[in-house]
Amino acid sequence: MIYEFDWSSIPGALPFLWQGMKVTLEITATAIAVGIVWGTLLAMMRLSSVPVLSWFAAGYVNLFRSIPLLMVLLWFFLIVPRLLENVLGFPPGSDMRLSSAMIGFALFESAYYSEIIRAGIQSVPKGQIAAAYALGMSYGQAMRLVVLPQAFRNMIPLLLTQAIILFQDTSLVYVSALADFFGAAYKVGDRDGRLVELLLFAGAVYFVICFSASLLVKYFRKRAGA
């Protein structure tokens, strides 16, 4: 091996990298929370008997699932801020990258979450809804008290797996030069001329986090099966 590793720029950069990790986690958490709520609504619309609602949900989900996440993020970094400046009169040049990233991820992920949740709702036996109606519950009550709790229990492993994918995907905010964990690692590596070490370090950190999380998912799956 001819290349001489020099890891000395990492310890000093740890606070900065931690700041980046906080941005990553913030985006991930927002996208998961909004994605699940909006995804649930989309799934219910998709399954509803009102044609307009189910067409809207189907169109939304198919649109977001057919374009790359990177493209969605570019829309939200380059195009949407201009639109807001023009239409709502936002002051030009205001830094909306973090909120843009959060909204972009949330809207994109909710399309994927809604497909998971739709499958989850459909996995609940029809008799459950019939029983809820027979007890005099309204649609809202039947969904909230009977169907969704069971659906979500079945979906936990899939939702967590999607969360791991989402956590990895947040690295794509790199295209907006927002300093998330990966962006921070890249900046430090670029500054110190130690890109090799910093990229390998970033890869290792992502690996440890995602691998541990996937072991957790496996544990949940086993427990649910037992």
Binding site: M1, M71, V87, Q168, S171, Y174, F182
Partner: protein, 245 residues
């Protein structure tokens, strides 16, 4: 909002002089398709190999394949791409690293992107192949062995032909993903569809048209791939299995 729409901008000669902006976009589309198809071939080959290894009765080999899958699945695609593109040439023997760095920059970006997408997707293909093989009734393997076939022969003539037919639908979605994931290659400067879109925003000052066009091109790819794969799926269906007519 007073925005002047100029869709005709695509027909104007581009800054490079030898093409229109539409030509740029088609060049990007071509790059996206070439990149995705090359990476897909690689992903199928490596994924099938790793998927078989994952199921063989040899703990060392199946463990090795499991490590392979976990490594490529648990590191973000962007990080993997940067490692292939920026890190690996430094760690290779200097002669190889220099040979890579002296190549035409587009070739460097293209090779790094194909290798990255290929390995990344192969880990997913591997898991599909494994689940396909594991979903076969155990009797198939035993019957093959009882007929006097060796284990490799049983894989080749009995299990793999069946497994591949069963996993066509999940492979379709991986195939769609590879086109979408190829957009990541724009971050190392490869001028594929998404990168051309960004470039068009700078050159034409018509951001909405450029982005709408790129988005439509991605949707078009999606529709074409989906239609083609439907046909393949119908051909590959195994009579008597769930989902077949």
């Amino acid at each position: 909002m007073s925005y002047a729409w100029h869709w005709e901008v695509f027909l104007q000669p581009a800054a490079s002089g030898d093409a229109t902006y539409l030509g740029w976009m088609l060049a990007g589309l071509e790059m996206t398709v070439a990149l995705s198809l090359s990476a897909w071939i690689m992903a199928l080959a490596f994924g099938a190999l790793a998927g078989v290894l994952r199921t063989v009765p040899n703990r060392f080999l199946s463990g090795l394949a499991a490590v392979y899958v976990e490594v490529f699945r648990n590191i973000p695609l962007l990080v993997q791409l940067f490692i292939w593109y920026f890190v690996l040439p430094e760690l290779l023997p200097p002669a190889w690293g220099n040979a890579f760095k002296q190549m035409n920059p587009v070739a460097q970006q293209f090779i790094a992107a194909v290798v990255c997408l290929g390995f990344f997707t192969s880990a997913r293909v591997c898991e599909q192949v494994r689940s396909g093989i594991e979903s076969l009734p155990r009797g198939q393997k035993n019957a093959g062995l009882a007929l006097g076939l060796t284990l490799p022969q049983t894989y080749r003539h009995v299990m793999l032909p069946m497994a591949f037919r069963l996993i066509v639908p999940p492979l379709t979605s991986e195939f769609l993903n590879i086109f979408k994931n190829s957009a990541v290659a724009s971050t190392i400067g490869l001028l594929e569809l998404a990168a051309q879109g960004r470039q068009l925003v700078d050159y034409t000052a018509q951001p909405y048209e450029s982005f709408i066009a790129v988005t439509l091109f991605y949707m078009l790819i999606n529709v074409v791939v989906m239609t083609a794969m439907r046909k393949v799926e119908r051909k590959a269906q195994v009579p008597g299995y769930l989902g077949s007519k």
